[in-house]
């Protein structure tokens, strides 16, 4: 009995442990059961597709640790992609279009932050409102139609989401490794370091853990929250632009429902809904796990409708085990 309790105590210190173990188990399962799972194309598919969403999952994770939600990430992503696409279409230089789109994302993130810290509306409701409102902006500027880029791909696109041909050509069918993986890795590592080793990181944990205590200790919790919203907005916008650089068309529905995928990834990764607990690495692995399940089930020939159910099941199981471990 004692050993079990001791193991539990030790495990409880590493919030991402459950997701890491599940990741390995699921990986093992598909490696044995699903034909072609260990192929280059399947593995790079998982990495690349997960990375696009992974980029903003990093932001959502920081927000959730500070005790707040952002349901509007999918809509910000759509607005930013439309701004990027439409300015390119209007002849703006690619770099200027990128800066403009990122600026817009930051402003939209900032609006979220302002509403939450100024009015005291719960962030779930506030960003439910902005999710719908920002989607309206995306529809309005895009004329409820696609925006497409049909010209010669600018060099910037290669930097944003170019293919790693030297890796992809290693096998047939060719892999699909793209720059998105690097961006995801970069942001995840950067955020992980900030959260672990900087003062700002400990402020974020304090803000989410016990806000009153944090304020008493002199943490400017409102600033922390505002910064997190802006970062999340920026990352959501960037994710959309990265995706546009490989598939240069964007439709008005882009990103709908991704906010819930992001929350699911974070929660599977061990972040508490109430804030104050969890890590960026956990959330990142959570996102990879979700994408791996999808690819694996396709290879097993399972009907698509049941993927969503499987992901729902994983979500609940992961949270139960996370809670069990941390409730020492």
């Amino acid at each position: 009995m004692d050993t079990i309790v001791r193991i539990r105590h030790r495990l409880a210190d590493a919030s991402e442990l459950v997701v890491l173990i599940s990741f390995l188990l699921v990986f093992l399962f598909f490696s044995i059961r699903a034909e072609n799972f260990l192929s280059l194309v399947s593995l790079t598919n998982i990495l690349t597709i997960a990375s696009i969403k992974g980029i903003f999952v990093v932001g959502v994770a920081m927000l959730m640790i500070s005790g707040e939600f952002d349901l509007s990430v999918g809509s910000i992503l759509a607005v930013a992609t439309f701004v990027f696409a439409l300015s390119l279409e209007a002849g703006t230089a690619p770099l200027a279009a990128l800066v403009l789109a990122l600026a817009v994302s930051a402003v939209l993130g900032g609006i979220n932050g302002l509403i939450v810290i100024r009015t005291g509306i719960p962030s779930f409701i506030a960003t439910l409102g902005t999710m719908l409102a920002f989607r309206g902006i995306a529809r309005a500027i895009g004329g409820a139609d696609f925006a497409r880029f049909t010209g010669e791909m600018p060099a910037l696109f290669t930097g944003l989401n170019g293919e790693f041909t030297f890796i992809n050509r290693l096998a047939v069918p060719a892999g699909s490794a793209r720059m998105a993986i690097i961006w995801f890795l970069l942001f995840a590592v950067l955020a992980a370091v900030v959260m672990r080793n900087t003062r700002f990181g400990s402020w974020v944990y304090a803000t989410g853990g016990s806000r009153a205590a944090a304020i008493a200790q002199g943490v400017k919790t409102k600033n922390v929250i505002a910064v997190n919203y802006i970062v999340t907005g920026l990352l959501a916008g960037f994710a959309g632009i990265v995706q546009f650089a490989s598939r240069p068309a964007v439709d008005p529905l882009r990103g709908e429902g991704w906010e819930l995928t992001a929350v699911a990834a974070c929660v599977i990764g061990g972040i508490w809904l109430s804030g104050g607990y969890g890590t960026i690495v956990g959330a990142a692995v959570g996102m990879l796990l979700l994408q791996m399940v999808e690819q694996g089930l396709i290879l097993l020939g399972v009907d698509v409708q049941l993927f969503q159910a499987t992901i729902g099941l994983i979500l609940i199981l992961a949270v139960i085990s996370n809670t069990y471990l941390s409730r020492q």
Binding site: I125, L128, R135, A144, V263, L306, T323
Partner: protein, 357 residues
């Protein structure tokens, strides 16, 4: 300006105790503005259209209000409506469907071509209620926040609907007269000279009945008091001897029941149901409850307020279409809902603070 401040003060003091007062006042103001300034708005056609459009989401909103007062919510409601629609539709008319065949094979009195209305209603109401029960049980057993539990079951239940339906949408041509009772044209009312051009439907009467029942349970019974207590402060409620877990589970069951009713009402009119039926309705219902004055953290809210909220959304939709604003076509209406949510929360908070202060 001084008189205006006084007026707000006296109004908010008089009605402020009731959660429905603020939203209702706002609704009346917006309604008057629309009547004055929106072309074609002031006709029974439009008014009845606004009322009819909430006949399905209204039920969901009543259920969600219970949950929000208890400090919880349920994201899996859309799937419950789909489940109810399939069960009701297939069994009521004995449609050519996997459901009919399966139930028939299991020895239940239904077969292709010979429907069973009583069985259809029982299944359509109890199965969603059971789905709500499962949500509630997971919640109280694991103590995971309802957002996460129902985010998970939202996906799982859609999978269940998919399996139950065989992945095929259901459309029936037969229309038993009972469909008109649940959701047919309300000719008794429409034919009155007073309601020239109106298109009221019987669904509205059922919705009102459900609202009366809901409000009665919430305000005038002990269970209702418990719901408020649990949502307000779980610790205090437990200290008072309230069985908080049981209360919360009951709220989930009630909300499932309302989703079941919504499925029956919907199928009775459209005679078709899809696996993805009513995806996203839960967010509209939460929005309506919030517009209608409920607090996300619980302990506050009312059924009437929530209905006012969902009517407000419907009213704005019609107004926007009638105004024909170029950058807000019908498919961009959700943006208006978004702005409304934020504006009304700010307004409701203000009115509430004036009332208590």
């Amino acid at each position: 300006m001084h008189w205006a401040k006084n007026l707000v003060d006296s109004l908010s003091h008089r009605f402020g105790r009731s959660p429905v007062a603020g939203p209702l006042a706002t609704f009346v103001v917006v309604l008057l503005l629309c009547l004055l300034f929106v072309p074609n708005f002031g006709s029974w056609r439009t008014i009845s259209g606004i009322v009819t459009a909430v006949s399905i989401s209204g039920f969901v909103t009543i259920g969600i209000t219970f949950l929000m007062v208890a400090g919880e919510f349920d994201l899996s409601i859309g799937a419950m409506i789909a489940m109810s629609g399939y069960l009701f539709g297939a069994v009521a008319v004995g449609a050519d469907s996997q459901i009919t065949r399966g139930l028939g094979a299991a020895g239940l009195p239904v077969a292709e071509g010979s429907g069973n209305l009583a069985l259809a209603l029982i299944l359509a109401l109890t199965v969603p209620a059971l789905m709500g029960l499962v949500n509630g049980l997971i919640l109280v057993w694991t103590r995971i926040p309802s957002f996460i539990v129902t985010l998970g079951t939202r996906q799982i239940y859609r999978g269940l609907v998919w399996l139950t339906s065989g992945g095929v949408l259901l459309q029936t041509l037969g229309k038993p007269p009972i469909f008109n009772v649940f959701n047919g044209r309300f000719e008794l009312l429409n034919n009155l000279p007073l309601f020239e051009g109106a298109n009221f439907r019987t669904a509205t009467v059922w919705l009102l009945a459900a609202a009366f029942l809901g409000q009665y349970l919430l305000v005038h019974t002990r269970i209702g008091n418990h719901v408020f207590a649990v949502g307000g402060n779980v610790g205090a409620a437990t200290a008072q001897g309230i069985r908080t877990s049981r209360t919360k589970v009951l709220c989930f069951v009630f909300s499932g029941l309302m989703a079941g009713a919504a499925g029956v009402i919907s199928f009775s009119q459209f005679r078709s149901v899809r696996v993805a039926e009513q995806a996203g309705v839960e967010l509209t219902a939460i929005a309506a409850s919030v517009v209608g004055g409920a607090l996300l953290n619980g302990g506050y809210g009312s059924v009437w307020g929530a209905l006012v909220g969902i009517l407000m959304i419907s009213l704005l939709r019609s107004a926007v279409i009638l105004l024909d604003i170029p950058f807000i076509p019908a498919d961009n209406f959700p943006a208006v809902i978004g702005a409304t949510i934020i504006a009304s929360v700010i307004l409701n908070n203000y009115l509430r603070s004036r009332a208590s202060g």
